[in-house]
């Protein structure tokens, strides 16, 4: 069968942008639910915050920060692509967005542990 032609850098950047957006959309309701505990169940929130000190949770937060920043920088690249004069450096810009996101999330992780 004809396989869709994929696995080149900008297609992967597209997938990363979509999946990070989807993951963040799923994360946000959970995030707001936990925040709402500050008003409704302060004790439960405290025990959750204690649980969040766990290194494995910090690792998950590292992933979350990566998703957030890769979605922001990837989105900025797309906005620039569509609204600024054309640049041929799209692959480098997409790679730069991933690199910058790893830097941001890595810095967060080193601060957090």
């Amino acid at each position: 069968m004809t396989r869709p032609p994929r696995s080149h850098p900008l297609w992967l950047a597209f997938v990363l942008h979509r999946l990070s957006g989807l993951a963040l959309a799923l994360f946000l309701p959970a995030h707001f639910w936990v925040l709402s505990m500050a008003l409704t169940q302060p004790q439960r929130l405290d025990s959750f915050l204690e649980f969040a000190e766990n290194p494995m949770v910090k690792l998950a937060e590292f992933g979350l920060v990566f998703l957030l920043s890769v979605h922001i920088f990837g989105g900025l690249r797309l906005l620039a692509l569509e609204f600024l004069p054309w640049s041929n450096k799209q692959k480098s810009l997409a790679a730069g967005a991933v690199g910058l996101s790893l830097f941001v999330s890595g810095t967060f992780f080193l601060q957090a542990i």
């Binding site: 069968m1 994929r6 900008l10």
Partner: protein, 245 residues
């Protein structure tokens, strides 16, 4: 390459029509210099004369012979077997995103109809009685128009595009690139007609900038940049109209 030692290629060809099809395997003699089109022609001439395919110029100018080769859209007359061989295997199938007529020949009508739908046709500024307009080849506008004029209508970009696969009404990279070329052509008037034609539900704003069109274009053109140009100009025109309303 190992291919020099191999005497035969194992070539799987997708046979069938609009109602479906099946793969058929052929053994084709291997040569040092051999294109995918040579392989397909050998099968048709020496193995199975009922194999249907399409070609004309054999030198990468006419855009007739594009097919899916090992899953990727390619112009078969300029694709060396050595470049795409997987072991000694090849898989050849009709272009993606277009209806199959028979075997490797697809119906290109939807592809060309969309060129017209995108206003990818000339809207003259003058009549034959007017003197010929002088165009500065160095101007930014002309450079932008020149960037896309070498398109050979092979439909490789159209077959590569996942957005076309997901939305059969989407005009596709080639038609939009043509519209962008004409938009930048000083000898083409009625630019707003082009912008209106490309900004509807099937227009340029469907594009997700995956870049498969640019990645696979055999002539190294950049339809993704052309589509981005149309997005920019349609957005500008939208805000201009709101301001003037």
């Amino acid at each position: 390459m190992e291919q020099a030692e191999q005497t035969h290629l194992e070539v799987t060809v997708r046979r069938g029509d609009a109602d479906g099809g099946k793969d058929e395997v052929f053994r084709v003699p291997a040569h040092d210099n051999q294109t995918i089109l040579d392989v397909v022609s050998w099968i048709q001439q020496y193995s199975d004369p009922t194999l249907t395919y399409r070609f004309a110029c054999r030198v990468g100018m006419c855009g007739s012979c594009a097919m899916m080769v090992n899953g990727e859209p390619r112009w078969t007359c300029r694709t060396h077997v050595n470049k795409v061989l997987d072991g000694n295997k090849l898989h050849i199938a009709p272009l993606r995103n277009l209806p199959v007529i028979k075997d490797l020949a697809v119906d290109m009508d939807p592809f060309f109809d969309k060129w017209v739908e995108a206003e990818g046709k000339h809207h003259p500024t003058k009549t034959r009685d007017d003197p010929i307009e002088q165009i500065n080849p160095e101007s930014a506008e002309r450079s932008e128009a020149n960037a896309g004029i070498e398109c050979i209508n092979c439909s490789v970009c159209y077959a590569a595009c996942d957005t076309v696969a997901g939305n059969p009404d989407y005009l596709g990279p080639a038609a939009l690139q043509r519209a962008w070329t004409l938009f930048n052509d000083a000898k083409n008037e009625d630019k707003q007609t082009i912008l209106d034609a490309v900004s509807g539900t099937s227009g340029c704003h469907n594009c997700h900038s995956m870049g498969s069109c640019t990645h696979y274009c055999p002539n190294d053109l950049n339809p993704m940049a052309a589509v981005a140009g149309l997005k920019r100009e349609t957005a500008k025109s939208f805000f201009r109209r709101r301001k003037n309303a």
